[in-house]
């Protein structure tokens, strides 16, 4: 791939890096043609010089081609130097032809070579060279018949008209053939590009569809719950409560009914939490805070307890996916427990942001009592166990007149990153 490296050397800087740039291919082809043509052109001067002929033309041509290369490298532009080279080269070639027999010259084939190089280098205007070549052949013919050549020469060589005609036909054939080759190649390239684009579109569509499907699935799960499970659970609760009211206060079945109500209530609540988990960005600390705050407000409205909350703006922090649901369970339990603290009148829920974790805290102004201890052990043990299992740090702070439960939830993209 040494040649590619050399081509890359001459590419303008901004295109070198960007293979998908629209002009990348175009410039690469011009450069390749020049870079292949240049050494081939350099072969000519030496033998020609040894044969005693003038080589200035070849050297000028080489300089012009180098100018094209440099123009591309530093200006990303080649039309002007290329057009200049094209025109100057015609003069140089004509010079070679004039002294070697005009229409009978062996250098005529250089014009055909020129056509090949032109179409290869610049397919947009290369085909114009067909016409300019036809014109130049015509000019050479004109010069030939006015050059005063010996008629014997004409007879030997088959006549200028025949040479003109053949060269014209060769030009048309050669030109047409090359032009078609170029066109075919382009078409192939375009077809491949199209297939690639199609594939990308298909993949895009598939991903979009999948995402929509998931979204619809979530919604329909929520709706299904609402329609079936939710209604059924409510029906169980309602009927159990109705049954309870029909039994006498000291009926032995009362505890059983209470248990039914508690169970269906519990199931209803944990389904609510699960649905929230399903339908929300449960890696977002703020959404978690909002959910718990809403619950706290709703819950404490039943009692004469003043509940308030505040949250710091923790930009762009994310929880591991399993964290949110567990934080909900812990704090719902904590909020329920507060009601049992003697004299709790105010409850405060807060979220603060630290380096590698987010802290949620529930604080109340009640007093831990003796009677609370037994239940407290069980409830607290639950919270501690759940915290440990999920990698949270659990803290219980007790002072006279204030109890505070704090949880540190680790984040997966800490601020330092």
């Amino acid at each position: 791939m040494r040649f590619d490296n050399i081509v890359a050397y001459f590419l303008p800087r901004h295109i070198k890096a960007d293979k998908t740039h629209p002009r990348y291919n175009e410039l690469r082809i011009v450069l390749s043609t020049c870079l292949i043509g240049l050494p081939l052109m350099l072969i000519f001067p030496l033998p020609i010089y040894l044969m005693g002929k003038d080589i200035t033309g070849y050297l000028i041509n080489d300089v012009l081609v180098i100018a094209i290369l440099l123009s591309i490298k530093y200006f990303g532009h080649y039309r002007i130097p290329m057009t200049t080279t094209a025109i100057v080269t015609y003069f140089i070639i004509y010079d070679w032809i004039r002294d070697t027999g005009l229409i009978y010259s062996s250098n005529i084939s250089i014009l055909h070579m020129y056509l090949l190089a032109a179409i290869w280098a610049d397919k947009k205007y290369g085909w114009l060279t067909i016409f300019s070549n036809l014109f130049v052949f015509g000019f050479i013919y004109y010069q030939t018949i006015h050059a005063g050549l010996d008629p014997i020469l004409d007879n030997t060589m088959g006549g200028p008209l025949y040479a003109l005609g053949m060269n014209w036909l060769i030009t048309l054939f050669f030109g047409g053939f090359l032009a078609y080759l170029q066109y075919d190649q382009e078409r192939d390239r375009a077809r491949i590009r199209e297939l690639q684009d199609q594939k990308i579109d298909e993949l895009d569509q598939a991903v979009k569809q999948r995402t929509e499907q998931l979204g619809t699935m979530r919604e329909s799960i929520a709706t299904d719950f609402h329609d079936q499970t939710g209604n059924m659970l409510s029906a169980i609760t309602r009927q159990a409560l109705l049954l309870k009211s029909k039994l006498s206060a000291n009926d032995t079945a009362q505890p059983i009914v209470d248990s039914i109500v508690a169970n269906s209530d519990g199931l209803y609540n944990s389904s609510k939490d699960f649905l929230w988990h399903l339908n929300h960005n449960n890696d977002d600390p703020q959404e978690l805070f909002d959910y718990l705050a809403g619950h706290g407000q709703y819950y404490y409205n039943q009692f004469d307890i003043a509940f308030s909350c505040s949250a710091e703006d923790c930009y762009n922090r994310q929880f591991p996916l399993s964290a949110a649901l567990n934080v909900i369970y812990i704090f719902k339990e904590a909020m329920t427990n507060v009601v049992k603290h003697a004299g709790a009148k105010e409850v405060y829920f807060r979220m603060t942001c630290q380096e590698g974790h987010i802290t949620y805290a529930l604080q109340d102004d009640g007093n831990w009592k003796e009677a609370d201890e037994r239940w407290a052990h069980y409830g607290l043990a639950n919270m501690r166990r759940r915290s440990e299992k999920n990698g949270f740090t659990f803290r219980l702070l007790r002072t006279p007149g204030a109890t505070c439960i704090e949880i540190d939830v680790p984040v997966i993209n800490p601020k330092s990153q």
Binding site: A235, R238, A293, G296, Q297, Y298, N301, I305, A306, F307
Partner: protein, 207 residues
């Protein structure tokens, strides 16, 4: 004078349950129970309820549309929406349609009676999520019709404060807080009728 209550709920077990609770509570009387809005509307004038308990999801005319129609026939009638989940969007739209609040279908008996009592004495509960939507609804270019006090109460709720906390902060009683909320609901219904009829967008289940 006993308060007359109509119940519209298509699940017969749940409806039965509600009827039983209300009948058992002093001061309330079930004047009609129906499984669809259409049936209830036919008998509304004859029943003359003070309050209608209506499921938000009904076959045929749903709770939101039903609220509008009931309020047309008996403007003074209160509508309490029953819902399985606190779906803010639907509940909010029924509030815009003129409902005074909502109760969760799974609530305990006392909770339900308390909600009915609060609604009738003017102060149905409002949650943090609903309050946020109300704030947004009133935040439009036209002048907010809320009084300063009402704005403070609404702000407090949208920040997650319980009624007791708001009462503490504003040096008013809990009952006053509730009556402010009642006024907010009334102004919301006047202000935001269009919201009620808006086609439901993304249903954010907040649980």
């Amino acid at each position: 004078m006993e308060k007359r209550i109509t119940i519209i709920e298509d699940n017969p077990r749940i409806r039965e349950g509600f009827v039983a609770i209300i009948e058992a509570a002093p001061g309330y009387l079930v004047c009609g129970q129906y499984s669809s809005c259409e049936d209830a509307l036919k008998n509304l004038s004859a029943d003359q309820p003070d309050l209608v308990l209506m499921d938000i999801d009904l076959p045929g005319i749903d709770g939101i549309e039903g609220t509008i129609r009931i309020k047309k026939i008996i403007p003074a009638c209160m509508v309490l929406i029953i819902t399985v989940l606190e779906d803010s969007d639907k509940v909010f739209r029924s509030l815009c349609a003129g409902a005074v609040g909502y109760i969760i279908k799974n609530s305990g008996n006392d909770n339900i009676i308390q909600s009915i009592h609060e609604a009738l004495s003017g102060g149905a509960p409002m949650s943090l999520h609903i309050a946020k939507m109300v704030v947004q609804s009133f935040a439009r270019p036209q002048d907010s019709p809320l009084s300063e006090r009402e704005k403070e109460v609404l702000k407090g709720i949208s920040e997650g404060k319980s009624y007791s906390k708001i009462a503490l902060d504003l040096f008013i009683s809990k009952e006053t807080v509730r009556s402010h909320i009642k006024n907010i609901y009334q102004k919301l219904a006047v202000n935001s009728k269009a919201e009620a009829l808006r086609v439901a967008g993304s249903n954010k289940w907040i649980g």
